[in-house]
Every structure is written in C-alpha cells, then in structure tokens.
Symmetry: C2
Subunit: 321 residues, 2 copies
C-alpha cells in the first residue's frame, strides 16, 4: 500500500534523514589558490559536527552558508597546524555572534595546553564555554554519543599521534503509517511503543502487528574520516563497510617514497584500504600542492577502487540518498 | 632636453619607483563572504612589508601572487585576533617553503608571549628564525629602517593598546642623464658623487654643474595605516600630507554610538582626519559586517573629503604614479 506524502512531510523526512559531509578544505599543509586547509562539517539532521579546523575554516563555513549556531562539536584529528590553526578565529567569531551554549572540542591532551593560553589572552570575554575533551589517539574508542550519533576514534599512523573518526548514525525508528493509525484509531499514547516494536491491541482485543502500522526505518549511515595517515591496514576492520570513507591521498604513485617518508598515503594506498574494507564510496583528499590537477590521483585510485571521487572545496557528499 | 628611454630602462625605472599597497583583507572582526580579515602588503621596489596578519592572510597573499621570499618584515598594529591570527599559519608555510632568512615581526611586547609557545609546539623544525621586535604603542617612534624605507609607529586610541604605522620612503637620488655623461666623458668612478650633488670638473678644468648631468629624483612617498582606532586628533601632525592614508571606518554615521563604545571610527571621522591632515588620498577599510554595501560609508566620507576610495580585497593602490 503506497501513501502519498505532503511536501511538508517530505521536507521533514529529508531533514530527519539528512547526513551530509561538507568539504570546507582538502589541501595539505601548504595552502594553494585552489585548496583551503583541512576541515569538513558533517550535517546530521541539521546538527553540525566539524572535523578538523585548518586556517580559514570559519571563512569557508560561512561561504557554504552553514549555520554557526548549529555547531556544538569539533573533532581534531591531530595537532599539526593545517588541521587546527583555524580554531582561535572560529572560537572568537562564535563569541562575537553572541553564542552562549558550550562548545565541545575533542582533541588530544596537548590541545588545551597549546590553545588555552591563546584563548585566555584573545578571548577574555567569551560569552560561552569552550570545553576540551581529551582522547587518546592510539585507542579505538567511543568519544562522543548523543541521541542520533556515535563518534569513535580510528588510530592512524603519522609523524605525530593522529586519529581518524568514525561517525555512526544510531539505528532509526520505523515510520508510522498515518492512515493505518487513523484506521485502527490507535491512541497517540501508544505510538512510541509501536515504533519500538510493540503490537497494538484494539479495544476489541484484535492484535494488529506493528509491522502493519509502520514502514521500516531507513538504514543508519556510517562515515569514516582518515587523515593524516600512512598506509595502515589496522584501520580496515574499524571502517568495514562504511557508506563513505574520506581517506587522505596526499601523493601520487610517483611520489611514493615521499609519502612513506612523511607518513602520508598515496591515492592507490587509499584505494587499497577502501577495497579491503568494502566501503561503498571513497573520497580522496589532503592533496599535496604539487599537483595542479588531481585527476592523476583519481585515476590511480580508480584502478583499484572504481567508486572513488576527489574531494573539493564546497563539495557536498550526501550519505542519505 | 628629453631623452627617449628603452623598455628595459622603463621597466627598471618602474621597479625602482614601485610603492604599492596590496589589500589582502579589509573586514573587521567578523569575517564575511565579502571580506577577509585585516592584512595588507606594501611592495616597495619589490621588497614586501606586511601590515597586520588576520586569519587567511597567507591565502590572500598567494591569491594576489605575491612572493613569499620577498617578505621579511611584518608589522602588527594590535593584539586583537582579527589582526594577528594568521601569523602561525604564515610562519609555518614559510618554513615548509624552505625559507632560511630571518623573519622580523614588529609588535607589542605581549606578542612573543602569546605566540612563541604556539610556534614552539607547532613549528619545532622551522629552518629559519622568527625575531620579535617589541615596540611601545603609545609612542611615535622609529621602529624600522633600511636603505629605502623608514617605519614609525602612530599611537592610536582603541580598547587595547594599538599603533598605526607610517611608512616613509627615503629621499631618492637624482637620475644620471646618460647622454650628458657620455658627452663630457665622465668616468664611472665619479657618478656616485655627482648623484649626491657634487659638480664634475673636466680634465680641462671646466666645471659642469651636477644639475646639468642629472634629472631630479622623484618625490619620496609616504603611506599611513591607522587601524584600529577611535577618532583621534593627535595622529594628525604625524600623518600630515601623506600620499595615502588608510584609516579604519568600521561604522557609518547612524552607528556612531556603537563606534564610540567600541573605540572605532565612522567614515566621516576618518574623512575629518584626512582633511585636517591634508593627505592626498583616503582609503577606508575595516568595515563592519553590518554593511552589505559600503557605498553609504563612501558617500559620508566624500562629503568631507572627496578623494576617498573604499578598500577591497585584491585592491592595489599605487603611490608611485
């Protein structure tokens, strides 16, 4: 039985389903005229979660028309400047915008040691609290959880301690079929139980199976961010089967020696990880400034893992469709 | 007597005369999709001097195709984040580019206290030295001098200690008239003395006045940067008659109360200063994010001082023509 939904219902549905990754910057340490420094924002049902915050992230955030008041959580992969020098400016801007709710920053234990003195000096009258949550980058552990999302760390292999992040949507509730609820005159007070798998018993004693009153929930999505890292097979079981894997691909095959030396990955290595982990889609990023055109990286990766795309500033990756 | 110069001579002349101001950012504390944060680069005969370094300055520096290796001196007006949060990223980038020569930063005594720990953590293997030169913002004093340029501080009036900068080109040497030198067969060894005002005496004892052998030097130019500041008449004698004055004009007349409260200037106030100081040209900048179109500021200023323009990202102001 198919029911036609109203535009309002469709919009609400879209909002409820939204799981998007906004690429704010995908260059490596040296910014270019083409790429900003590492930063992205995951939009899960209109709540924003930032991953890394290189210099200029707040400019890109605004340019992508994201809403500052929706941002409450920032995850920093490692303490190299190109992944976190945008923090002081962003924190300062949020204060100027009159923010009052806490801002949570998940980073390694050194982060508050290096940033707090700067904030103490420059952001004395901040109208909100910045709370650092330290995590240990060598462990695969849950570092954040709310009603809809779980974030765990993915230990990576880099010159300094570095961790990727696995963002997992929690299982969703099935959808009530409004017309069936009306037909059986189910009281509102029972809806919650039905969505959680309880059958409905009519006043006449008839048992209506919950499957008849609901449509199945959409699948929960999973996104993995792995940057910066050398080729590192230990991440494979952690990211197994994710919908989208963002994996750094700083270099092409001809610069493999340089990749090894600097603990970065080549595009082929990123693709090998994607293939071994059976991910659905691979996004390459963290491009070295030496490639005026990253098509060479894309082609190298696609030879191993065809469903690969290049990250780019202002790219929006939709996991929910 | 007019001599025709070759293209090479003209190019060399242009380089020798170059005094340009590149606007990298002219927004105020809140960045917008239109404006970057405060930063500009003065190009004097292909040596670059940066004034202020808000977040994203290194991106704009590159976008304007300026050469990193020509930059040796940075002047920071005051320690608000929108004027200096770009320093760590720029310093880090210069290191990655393999710089070996010292970088000199002129700022208030607190600057190394707040930035050095960050540099110690993030830029451990910098292949060059960052040298902080503290100055006292309440004094009008010479803080930098080389063969062609003098830079002195202009005490300003802001919520925190703040200083503008007066950049003065040193007097130039007159130009040798090649044809006259050939005609009188002046030895090369005498050229320097003649340019410095000595007459030439031929082997026959004839005195050739130096004015006959040279064309007068072009006038030396002066540029003043005054941001951030409230309306402050004490700066007038210091900036008297400069070729170009960049003066902050954060607000329009309708927000005068806000300007006063935050120790910023209105466009009219900037124009009043320009008029009283008999400057040749006024450039307004440091615009509040509240004005989607700054024409209102321009019009208010022009009522008092007609030769006013608005700063804008990537604007190049040429003082030498």
């Amino acid at each position: 039985m198919a029911f036609k939904r109203t535009t309002a219902q469709i919009n609400r549905y879209r909002l409820m389903e939204r799981f998007e990754v906004n690429i704010l910057g995908c260059g490596s340490a040296l910014p270019t005229t083409k790429h900003f420094l590492s930063s992205q924002v995951v939009n899960l049902r209109d709540k924003l979660y930032m991953i890394d915050c290189g210099e200029g992230s707040q400019l890109q955030f605004r340019a992508m028309k994201l809403k500052f008041q929706r941002l409450n959580h920032i995850f920093i992969s490692h303490l190299h400047g190109d992944h976190c020098f945008g923090l002081p400016g962003l924190i300062s801007t949020l204060g100027l915008l009159g923010r009052t709710s806490d801002l949570h920053i998940y980073a390694q234990p050194d982060a508050p040691i290096v940033f707090q003195p700067l904030l103490d000096y420059f952001c004395k009258q901040l109208p909100y609290k910045v709370i650092f949550h330290p995590f240990h980058p060598a462990r695969n552990e849950l570092i954040f959880e709310d009603r809809t999302l779980k974030v765990s760390t993915i230990p990576l292999k880099h010159r300094v301690p570095s961790a990727g992040f696995l963002l997992e949507e929690k299982p969703k509730s099935p959808h009530i079929i409004r017309e069936m609820i009306d037909f059986y005159q189910v009281p509102v007070s029972r809806i919650h139980a039905i969505k959680n798998g309880m059958d409905y018993i009519t006043p006449e004693g008839e048992i209506i199976p919950h499957q008849r009153l609901t449509r199945p929930a959409e699948p929960a999505h999973r996104y993995a961010y792995c940057s910066d890292t050398a080729y590192y097979e230990k991440i494979i079981p952690i990211i197994e089967g994710v919908d989208v894997l963002y994996h750094e691909a700083t270099f092409g095959e001809e610069d493999l020696a340089r990749a090894k030396e600097t603990f970065h990955s080549s595009a082929r290595q990123a693709a090998s990880i994607a293939k071994a982990a059976n991910v659905k889609k691979l996004v390459l990023g963290h491009f070295s400034a030496r490639y005026p055109d990253e098509t060479i990286l894309l082609n190298e990766a696609r030879e191993i893992f065809p469903n690969t795309i290049l990250a780019n500033e202002k790219l929006l990756i939709n996991l929910s469709i």
